[in-house]
Symmetry: C2
């Protein structure tokens, strides 16, 4: 989206009196972002991001804000929500639930090598370990129930071959039990756009608004599907092994995760294929999505199905 | 002190496995500091300060660590303690209570102007406001009880004139009731050494190990006694007014604070005079203090007593 809800410097200056982060020096809308209205806010203390939540419900927001606070207090580079003088992360600004978080340094990278993938693997494992002491729970909003409801809605927009693939994969995933895999808090959207690099170091992981409780391996699969893919939509061996080995060094995989690996990669491809089809063909009114190509995910899924043995061979043991 | 307890890179690497801040790349002892052993620790995530507590009791440490965490979650630039995988700020390393906090950027400044003093005044007021929601309590370890015990011990080291001044001032302060003044969490040691400047912005306030609950105005007095003093040990008008006005803008002073102002400046001078006499004449065994000149505080106290009307005139109304 772009900016949905306007905020003037005067309104924000008044609102900032509820905080102890100095006085406003600059306010600037942020174009990126699909679900919320975001602004860069500079004060005499530093740089922050103000988010007005357009779609998420106020009752769900503490899960995300407290999670960011929890992870950053464990040293995971992520935005830190700032508490108001009333000691609350969540406020209300211009009728919207709103929060102000620290601005993490860096820029996203689209061209990544095995070194970047190793950094991401290690960091993802650290995030999973740090998340183990986070108490709040959130079911995956893009889990089996969502899948069951979404598949019939997007099917009419697909050709015969794609429709068959989607139905078959949805049936396969519905039968697949993830409950035995190690579970915890996952980011669930760790794409390259959501990692800001400050040189060779990660300045911050951003956009925790899909975070939830699910299989940890599913989070790894979502990351590999974005960070380690070749132009032919198959996984790149070197980058995949680098990411998995660095993860394994911090949180060693268990045997059942190896068996589940190809299915998790397919689950990740399916979930984003469906949501991209949705964004393209059934956009929500008033939400200006920068719709991404669903076919990208379809090709990825086809490759994963075709190359199961190869995927298993690449998995660290 | 310097480094009391040694820590090897091997010991620290093993200890850091309890945290999610990457792997050790550099370890370096820090010479400054009187009460604890400190190290700069660099990991693949960034730069931290490791503190091994030599004198403070483990039971008291959560007050300080939780306070730093509380203030930084409110946007006050201060070190953030990092929680372990067991979700605790306080650990044990080589037999000492130990904690690792983020390394705040910047350097201390000894030459300061009215602009710096205004920044400090505003920040101190913000810290007092942010501290209002901090629940834990700590009586001032350098309060009236300490004063009563310390005065007779340092008196033998003073000449007649200084001894009379000390006894008279201690008597005056013992009769002075602070309880009616606005109270809260105070830093209690906001000297120029404890503020790191990152350009014109404060990168961090450090050394919270004298923080306690006391009169907020006493904290302002301690700051003015260090930031706003002239070479003749009297307060500089421009810097004092800048600090007080910026503070007042964020947390307006109340009428009784005006009346108490000269007494608070004197209380600050007395407290540091006594502790410097102590460090000079009665050093604790094994503590390598960089003893500071006690006479500096004596002169300041004399000036404050002589210039009460001037101090009242400078106070914002």
């Amino acid at each position: 989206m772009s900016v949905f809800t306007t905020v003037t410097p005067g309104q924000l200056s008044a609102w900032l009196r509820n905080y102890s982060i100095g006085t406003l020096t600059q306010l600037e809308g942020i174009a990126a972002g699909i679900e919320n209205t975001n602004f860069f806010v500079t004060t005499t203390h530093g740089r922050y991001v103000l988010t007005l939540f357009e779609n998420l419900k106020a009752g769900e927001l503490p899960f995300y804000l407290n999670l960011m606070a929890h992870l950053s207090r464990h040293g995971i580079p992520s935005p830190r929500p700032i508490a108001s003088l009333a000691n609350e992360y969540l406020g209300v600004l211009n009728g919207r639930p709103a929060a102000i978080v620290t601005c993490v340094p860096g820029n996203d990278l689209q061209q990544v090598d095995a070194g970047h993938c190793a950094t991401i693997g290690g960091l993802l494992a650290e995030m999973h370990l740090a998340g183990a002491s986070y108490r709040a729970k959130m079911p995956n909003p893009r889990g089996p129930r969502w899948l069951r409801a979404a598949v019939p809605k997007v099917l009419p927009f697909l050709d015969q071959r794609a429709a068959t693939l989607l139905k078959d994969e949805a049936r396969f995933q519905a039968l697949y039990r993830r409950a035995d895999l190690p579970r915890g808090v996952i980011h669930a959207d760790l794409f390259r756009d959501n990692v800001l690099w400050d040189g060779l170091r990660v300045g911050g992981i951003i956009d925790f608004y899909f975070a939830c409780n699910d299989a940890l391996l599913y989070d790894v699969a979502i990351a590999v599907n974005d960070w380690c893919l070749n132009e032919d939509f198959a996984v790149d061996h070197e980058r995949t092994m680098a990411l998995l080995a660095a993860y394994h060094e911090v949180r060693p995989f268990v045997a059942i995760e190896r068996e589940a690996w190809p299915a998790m990669l397919r689950a990740g491809a399916l979930r984003f294929w469906i949501s991209r089809l949705y964004d393209l063909h059934l956009p929500r009114p008033g939400v200006l999505t920068h719709a991404k190509d669903p076919q990208h995910c379809q090709r990825m899924l086809e490759q994963h199905i075709a190359r199961e043995a190869e995927l298993l061979r690449l998995f660290v043991t």
